[in-house]
């Protein structure tokens, strides 16, 4: 059974600081996704990481993937209040012809304090 674990689950940080959210998964996966969810809202796709060593950056967020370690990181640089949200990583294992079923981590609730 594929398991996805994130840590920390809760993160409170000051504006301007850097921090990293970790996502570990238990079995070989084809794809890793990062999503953002604001309170009461749906999920917004942030990154899709497709191969070992992949790194993607958007603004103050940078995601990386190490498939050998089964680990992805989401690094936050110089946090601002607008980044406060819950961040989910999700992985899928694709069959030869079958569809994707994402397995999600528990989410990391990030609060950036002024």
């Amino acid at each position: 059974e594929l398991k996805v674990e994130q840590n920390p689950l809760f993160l409170s940080m000051q504006e301007g600081k850097n921090y990293t959210i970790y996502c570990n998964y238990s079995t070989t996966s084809d794809r890793l996704y990062w999503y953002r969810q604001d309170p009461g809202k749906s999920l917004e796709s942030l990154f899709v990481l497709l191969s070992n060593g992949a790194v993607k950056q958007e603004g103050r967020l940078m995601a990386s993937l190490d498939t050998k370690a089964r680990l992805s990181t989401l690094h936050i640089t110089a946090a601002v209040h607008d980044l406060s949200a819950t961040y989910f990583c999700a992985v899928d294992f694709l069959g030869e012809t079958s569809g994707s079923r994402l397995t999600f981590g528990e989410g990391t609730q990030l609060t950036v304090n002024p």
Partner: protein, 119 residues
């Protein structure tokens, strides 16, 4: 429409009643997915559709749950004889095509969800 839409946005029902949740995917998206998100938790996969067929129903929690899709468009998730543990946000997502090793991945776009409360 611009994105995935779901209705109703909120549903309160009494234990034992049946409920129907609706999802309108992005136009032209052939793949449609249902997930459940319990309070403070990540999403659980329920079922996905490729066109109008559902190759993978293994995520449905019990036989009280069923889903259908017609016209490669709207999908309905039905929960019969609701129980309190069914209370959750039910999220629908769609993607342009069904991802596989042959076709590659395809990002799933999520709707706003239906918050179901079973009293």
């Amino acid at each position: 429409g611009a994105g995935v839409s779901q209705s109703p946005s909120n549903k309160v029902t009494e234990k034992g009643k049946d409920v129907e949740l609706r999802c309108d995917p992005i136009s032209g998206h052939t793949a449609l997915y249902w997930y459940r998100q319990r309070l403070g938790q990540g999403l659980e996969f329920l079922i996905y559709f490729q066109g109008n067929s559902a190759p993978d129903k293994s995520g449905l929690p019990s036989d009280r749950f069923s889903a259908e899709r017609t016209g490669e468009s709207v999908s309905t998730l039905t929960i019969q004889r609701t129980q309190q543990e069914d209370s959750a946000v039910y999220l629908c997502a769609s993607s342009l095509r069904v991802a596989s090793r042959r076709t590659g991945t395809d990002t799933q776009y999520f709707g706003p969800g239906t918050r179901l409360t079973v009293l």
